[in-house]
Symmetry: C3
Subunit: 143 residues, 3 copies
């Protein structure tokens, strides 16, 4: 598999909630974190996702929001992953920030340069990656 999504994380499905159009899937990553994804019900069936099966989460870097101080704040985003900044690659408008999560996985985020400065994102700084459940693609391997 070769995919342009910078973040490809494998895990085990721990919960599935079905709605009329969408379904919510909880995935426990190898590093211990849990990701929640919302996909269409039809995809859930086509991918044969059920509790206990293995799934791959794909998250494009521009869909990841970073926070460095969210004390006293509750977020609608179902996915808030804590980590430390590993590196920052600067462009003219955007920057790519690599984060090492507690479980060891690496997560990439594209943020604007003013945000890199405002959040003080440099190597070693603690940051939280925030990802909406509807921004995660899931994949399964055919048996």
């Amino acid at each position: 598999m070769k995919v342009s999504a910078r973040n490809v994380l494998e895990g085990r499905v721990t919960e599935v909630v079905e709605g009329a159009i969408n379904a919510e899937v909880a995935l426990e990553l190898d590093g211990g974190e849990t990701l929640v994804a919302v996909i269409t019900l039809q995809s859930l069936k086509r991918l044969e996702i059920k509790v206990g099966s293995t799934a791959i989460a794909m998250i494009k870097a521009p869909w990841v929001t970073l926070m460095t101080d969210h004390e006293g704040l509750r977020l609608s985003a179902r996915n808030c992953l804590s980590g430390k900044v590993e590196s920052v690659s600067d462009g003219a408008v955007n920057a790519e920030v690599a984060l090492t999560l507690k479980g060891g996985e690496r997560l990439y985020a594209i943020v604007t340069r003013p945000s890199v400065e405002a959040l003080g994102l440099t190597e070693g700084v603690a940051a939280t990656a925030v990802i909406k459940a509807s921004h995660i693609l899931l994949a399964t391997r055919e048996e």
Copy 2:
């Protein structure tokens, strides 16, 4: 709160519609505009969002689409905010456009450079920011 989302807008919840998996939340911004966000039902409950409560909308700049001429067009995006271009910061591939909304708020959009040229986005030009309801993160403050 320090967040890489370039757009952080506070408002008052005016309507909540609950579905099986998702919920739709309407927010009246301080400047008068209304934003509609779709979040998961579980987040709605966790954030204790109800009519009359205060909420913060976070929107990453790459999730904002700009239009300069949409006469005779109806859009599925629930959020169409009118404003004027305040500034354009150019990169090699992308550009960041700052828009001043009617109510005074500033909204940032990342668009490609060919789009900046095709739309003629320069200071003072009227433009509409288009945002899908499912691309808005909501936050509330703990009491």
Copy 3:
């Protein structure tokens, strides 16, 4: 219509599925491909979208994921469009990739430069554009 969304594709509605909050709309493009979009139910009604009507899909380039090898993989994304790379415009952090779909339409994706290298994206290479149904804006023309 002038819109910063790099991808504007017209088609005919072939199927509509309604949920409590969202609705799923299938669109057959002029080139023969089918796109599935999830929009809110309220937008479906406001745009008067029904089977047989014409609709315009708008997709921002950063919302498109590219794959070059997905053998044996099933994806939750409802939209997987095959094509060939037509050109690559490089920036410091990001690159814009233009893809020609089988039906002749052009599709743009913004991916990071490391992805361009990892996937070997150069002119003529076969690639698949992956788009989540919830990342497509729909528009209709007023009669």
